[in-house]
Amino acid sequence: MTETQAGTGEAMASPVAPQVPAIELDGVVKEYLANGEVVQAVKGVTLSIAEGEFFSLLGPSGCGKTTTMRMIAGFEDPSRGVVRLHGRDVTNVPPNRRDVNMVFQSYALFPHMNVWENVAFGLRRRKTPEAEIKRRVGETLEIVDLVGREKRRPREMSGGQQQRVALARALVNRPRALLLDEPLGALDLKLRQAMQIELKRIQREVGITFVYVTHDQSEALTMSDRIAVMHDGLVEQLASPREIYERPATAFVAGFIGTSNLIRGTVDRVESGNAVLALDEGGRVLVAEASHRAGDPITITVRPEKITISTEEPAGGLSAVRGTVSEVVYLGLYNSYAVRLADGAEVTVFQQNALDSSSTAERGDAVWLSWQPHHSYAIGS
């Protein structure tokens, strides 16, 4: 699954030839003993991250993403399974002997050292010659745009600057992989968005594998080559951002990434390659490439921006359902409509604010919703 989907979406960072993956997790399980009970934080994760990839572990808090990252870093020992870095089994290697570096959520800058000493810390531990330390620390501070602040103490700097010091302190060691644990969580929205672009630029510049832990789906979608969506200790889907957004594999992924509508029904018939769900009042939902047969129960998702809202019955060949507008929210760039279907289900529709705003539906209007068959995506239950 991982290999075939690496090429979709932004293909630029996917490996050209098969090579040793930067990071491999093989059946990794992490169990804790809490109040005499065994709790599984990670329930068996197998994945491989390619050299130079920007890879995100995305999920809600408690899904096991941070524990997974900490097992890569070496701060947690897996209860079962194997961790490999560049083909070498490092499952029992302590963090100070692993060729990966971590950027902590709290930055964890050494408060009694200035910026220069913080960044040089890793190189000093490796007995790097002083001249080389000087050169590399200087270069790295240039990359993160902190030249001239070498003598500052961490607490004399803003959150964004501290963030960049933390990044420099890890990058300067030229690790095989950089692990980032919600590094932008403490920054405000504007700065966070600027740092997302900055991180992506730095990653391209240095070409190091990034493993990025976040609960923020837009952050993961913006920056990643591939995303592993985690839920309850398991990887629910591992694919490119586009794939994950357009074709969520499970109801959880559909719900966690963006806004999504779930429509449940039973396949009525199969018509020219489309499974057809018959709904009340003449509505129908078409599902492309479905390998379903008549009588099968089915759940489909459709994204709010794929749906067109109209007052007249749409042409054939489209999914079309009827409903009543129950709420209209003006959001600047687009309007968000809540449309209640005959069976009581509510569907969210985003409609871009076009020049002709007179055609928009009002609250209480009876409307048709329509979308292309390939925008209905059947998901596993």
Binding site: A73, G74, F75, P94, P95, N96, R97, N101, M102, F104, Q105, S106, A108, L109, F110, P111, H112, F121, G122, R125, R126, R155, R169, A170, N173
Partner: protein, 260 residues
């Protein structure tokens, strides 16, 4: 108008408190310069530097002071090392006996000194341990340990655990991490604890008087000479100890403000 009056009252009150706290110290310092002729050093008879010149004239007093300093230095070093380790463990790790240890730390602070002194004496007597500087030092470690533990533990609890992880992540082993990251981070707590331990040791009378055997410390010597008249050298030594203490406290405050 009322605001002005309130300000004046507050100023007056503040100065009253300051006078209240410093008057005994000022008197102590002053009588170190008293050119006294009689045996007692309680009435002002003129200014002199004589006692500074004859500071070590009384060899038994000097011996007691040396004993006190020796005990204070050794017990402070021991207390700081053991207390820092204990404070780190109690602040950072969860382990069997942690609750009991925390309770014992508290119990050692709240035990009356008389009880502690008496029970230590019976312990040493029943163990046939000869009383002397060693037993005094052991006793001082015992009653000052908890203060170091408490100050270090408070600092450790407030410490971001990912600091040490970051050091490990950057290639530092356990000892290097402790030396370069953990210890500097908890240093204000360690220093404050050490100062407390030294101050508690140098002026302890009650516990020391139970376990001293035939050795005299500075406080014991002074108490012994109360009836015959305290010589001005005691004031001079008190002044010097006070001065050093104030200097160290100021240095620590400045350093921790720079570090914090």
């Amino acid at each position: 108008m009322t605001g002005k009056l309130g300000d004046r009252l507050l100023h007056g009150y503040t100065w009253l408190i300051i006078a209240w706290l410093t008057a005994p110290i000022i008197v102590m310092i002053m009588f170190g310069f008293n050119d006294k002729q009689s045996k007692s050093n309680t009435s002002w008879q003129g200014f002199t530097f004589r006692w500074y010149g004859e500071l070590f004239a009384d060899s038994s007093l000097t011996g007691a002071l040396v004993n006190s300093l020796q005990v204070a230095v050794v017990s402070t070093v021991l207390t700081t090392v053991i207390g820092t380790a204990l404070g780190l463990a109690l602040g950072r790790h969860r382990f069997r006996g942690r609750g009991v240890s925390n309770f014992l730390v508290f119990a050692a602070i709240s035990t009356p000194e008389l009880v502690m002194g008496a029970s230590l004496l019976s312990l040493f007597v029943s163990g046939n341990t000869p009383r002397g500087l060693a037993t005094i030092t052991i006793a001082h470690v015992l009653f000052s340990l908890s203060f170091v533990v408490v100050t270090v533990r408070a600092r450790v609890v407030g410490l971001d655990p990912s600091l040490e992880e970051a050091a490990r992540d950057l290639g530092a082993g356990t000892w290097t991490t402790f030396r370069l990251v953990t210890l500097p981070a908890i240093m204000p707590g360690v220093l404050a604890g050490a100062l407390l331990a030294f101050a508690l040791s140098i002026d302890d009378y009650v516990v020391t008087s139970f376990v001293n055997g035939n050795q005299l410390t500075f406080p014991l010597w002074i108490m012994g000479s109360v009836k015959v008249g305290i010589p001005p050298q005691v004031n001079v030594m008190g002044t010097l100890i006070f001065g050093i203490g104030v200097a160290i406290a100021i240095a620590n405050a400045v350093a921790s403000r720079r570090r914090a």
